[in-house]
Amino acid sequence: MIPIEYFLVLSAILFALGAYGALTRRNTIVVLMSIEIMLNAANLNFVAFSSYFNDVRGQVFALFSIAIAAAEVAVGLAILLNLMKTRETIDLQEIHILRW
């Protein structure tokens, strides 16, 4: 019998790891993967609560969330390809036209 706290702690740790990667890494692909880790932490919470409260809606929403994440990554990778073509770099420290 696994208590639900285990899933929640794992999810919180995954989210923190993803946030750390998204904030500190300079490679854009690694940042995209960190964002995916954060999304998967949320999905883990959905599925854990769904199975502990015996309600299917959490799993359905996790499926929707995975689909949206797939769409997001497709567009993100295409934008990265374009960026690599035009700027010859995907280093986030050198792409600062939209920030200070």
Partner: protein
């Protein structure tokens, strides 16, 4: 170790402490873990959330079109 890294570590450690502390303090009134059959998931997906399922398909189709449009090589 530059300033950005230190600020990230501090803020994420604070977030982690707050989240872990709060979720370990709360008494979740959760029952036992249950095996939800795939039939229930399928009926919820197609009966209750059929419209949302269609819209998700539309979104993924649009994302695919956008990805192909953004990534295609320029033709002379």
């Amino acid at each position: 170790m530059n300033r950005q890294k230190v600020a990230s570590i501090v803020s994420i450690a604070a977030l982690l402490v707050i989240v872990l502390g709060s979720l370990l303090v709360v008494n979740w009134h959760a029952g036992d873990i249950s095996q939800i059959g795939t039939e229930k998931v399928a009926s919820a997906l197609f009966d209750d959330y059929g419209i949302a399922f269609l819209v998700i398909g539309l979104v993924m189709f649009t994302a695919m079109l956008g990805g192909v449009f953004l990534a295609k090589e320029d033709e002379k």
